[in-house]
Amino acid sequence: MTARPPELVVDRDVVDQLAVALGTVGLTLGAAATPPTELRRTWLDTFDWRLHRAGWELEQVELDGTNTFALHGSGDHDRHELGTVPGCRVEWPAPPAALPDSAVRAQVAAAAGIRALIRTAGFEGVRRTWPVLDDEHKTVARLHIDTPAGASALPARITVSPVRGYEREAGEAARALATLDGVTAAPTSCYDECLEASGRARGGSRPVATVTAWTPAPVAVAGVLRGFLEIVEANVPGVVADIDTEFLHDLRVAVRRARSTVKLAGDAVPAPHGHLAAELKWLGDATTPTRDLDVYLLGVPAMAERLRAARPAELGAFRDHLAARRAEQFGRLVSDLGSARFTALVHCWREVTVVDPDTVPPVPTTAEFGADALRRAHRRVVRLGSTITSSSPAEQLHILRKRCKELRYLLEIFEPIEPSATRRRVLPVLKALQDCLGEFQDGEVQAAAIRTFASEMMSAGTAGPATLLAMGELAAQLDGDQHHARATFADVFAAFTKATRKLHWGGGDR
């Protein structure tokens, strides 16, 4: 890793003073500057800022038609460069695989996971570069002046990039230049400045309502619902553009949470919300086919790895079938998201979240309301779970899974009122229970889906015997997973009830 050069901002033309400043530290300015060269800097991250959260900053620099990609540490005091690799121009959004094969790509792929890279900020302008020479006339650094194009309000910047092994000299040069009249150390990086200019900030601004234990419950619940609406609205363009599968996933999670909130805490909302509940169900259902097919498609490589008798290549026709079905369902989803019904839903959703804090009664408080909602949700899970035996129908486990999700959502919504000790006790056992029920449900639904897909493929004549046998093996494996989940349920549920039996819900962290 190499240190990143400091940046300076310039508010006037200082070119004729550069040599004098460098001379004070025994360096000289090379006689020839490069001709002004078109510069385009593009910063990239995932929609949910995974690179930023992992401590990275990815930049594409296009200089006179030549592209390089640089990955830096994004901490304020640890600005290091993992590497810079040449590459070709990429049309963003694109997956990390579009980066040139390198350590940079490996690091970005590890942080981004399945998310695509999107442009978060950009700088366009002109760069002039001078070599900075030592007493042997060796280039020890390169001095760049980047002037933004057109009528940009951004200031020009000076950077001094060290040649490898000459970081000390480059630092001295930068310090000498900072003493010039009209030059100051940049208070923020060019990236932050470009983000700010477009009204954004690193990490985005997560729409979380500020809820305290004393907040009137209607205000808190309306704020939570508004937050979910903002997530949905933020993700719709990414879903429609089909940038990556996580846009739809995040949209669905927000819709599901909103549905649970309306169902479990809707009494707190003064506005009528019966219609909203019905329309949220419609939206959730509209997204299900595409999301299910996304899950199958994403899971094909893992499924192929699990095959024992069949060969992974024999799932090729299955993957093609899934992709074709997905394209068909995605078209319907896009149509739904562009429909008047969706627009009306958003309108209705927004209206439900409009609450005047001055007119709502101060009670129940969020603490009182939340504690009651959590208590009831927990009781429902315990009651239903206690009735489940080894011969209970799959539908009963599915309903329990939904109740567990509701309890989880309530824990998230009413996080500020729950003591952290309570959360630490509940979350691990609740998560284990959800995982067990998820494995059971996935086995149930996916095995049935594979049989349906096989039937469709046979009717269409797109599946040979090898593919059908491989799909049969997958279905058998999923059946095995389901049996395993069923066998472990009793123990996992017992652990949940034991850990949560004597909990006092709500009332903490005031």
């Binding site: 350590a103 006339h137 060796k138 280039t139 040649v163 490898r164 092994g165 000459y166």
Partner: protein, 254 residues
């Protein structure tokens, strides 16, 4: 990562000129390249205007007290870095000898650089010693400049024989005629009948004795950069083409 060493027992035969120009051509062709000036005289280091100094010297490097990548300096040319010479390299034999498996030491020192460089060019001191054996063990190719003279050819044959019985990982050997003066009858005769026995091969490209090559130390830049259309630069270009054909380097266009 491939390692090419310019080697000859004799001094003043064109090792440094070859190392400097081949390294520059490799970088020009897109290969991230490191040139390691192992000669304590530091001529290659001087050519690139870099100070011949390595913190802790040869001893710290060999003992890995100084990580090799910390001592590397960037040259004025894209993709070309230089590991500078240091006068303490004159004692590298002793420092290697104090290590276990000294012949393998240099290769181990270079291993961490494989993620960063496609090619390492070693500019070797004129000697046959533990350093030379360590270089031979590390190198994939020995590039041997040969003055077209009888004794020079005899030494080349001895080197080939030595490598045939080399206890370790022996490199391929490619000789080439250097400092050729076609006005001399002996030069013409020796070039006309290159050795064909043994493992070693002699390239068809010959580097002529030209003042522009001698003046590299004055200009302080590879001739392939300062005079890319000169006859000398074209000869080095042809030699580089032969080198790539003889020892394919991943990433290099052949």
């Amino acid at each position: 990562m491939k390692v090419i060493a310019t080697y000859n027992l004799k001094g003043g035969v064109g090792k440094t000129s070859t190392a400097v120009n081949i390294a520059h051509l490799a970088a020009r062709d897109g290969l991230p390249t490191l040139l390691w000036d192992l000669d304590p005289q530091g001529a290659a280091t001087f050519t690139f205007r870099i100070k011949p100094r390595v913190k802790g010297g040869s001893k710290a490097l060999v003992r890995r007290r100084t990580p090799i990548d910390r001592a590397i300096k960037g040259t004025d040319f894209d993709r070309l870095d230089l590991m500078p010479a240091d006068f303490s390299y004159r004692n590298m034999d002793l420092h290697l000898d104090a290590q276990k498996q000294p012949v393998r030491r240099l290769r181990r020192l270079l291993t961490p650089l494989s993620a960063e460089y496609d090619l390492v060019v070693l500019d070797c001191p004129p000697s046959i010693s533990l350093v030379s054996e360590s270089i031979m063990n590390a190198a994939d190719l020995l590039l041997v400049p040969l003055i077209p003279a009888t004794l020079s050819m005899r030494t080349f044959a001895q080197l080939d024989e030595f490598l045939t019985g080399f206890d370790g990982r022996a490199p391929r050997v490619l000789g080439f005629f250097s400092m050729v003066d076609r006005r001399k009858r002996l030069h013409r005769e020796v070039i006309a009948t290159p050795p064909t026995t043994g493992r070693a091969r002699v390239a068809t490209t010959a580097i002529p004795a030209l003042s522009i090559i001698e003046r590299m130390a004055e200009v302080r830049a590879p001739v392939t950069a300062s005079a890319p259309h000169s006859r000398a630069a074209m000869c080095y270009d042809e030699l580089w083409t032969e080198v790539r054909a003889y020892t394919p380097i991943p990433g290099a266009v052949t």
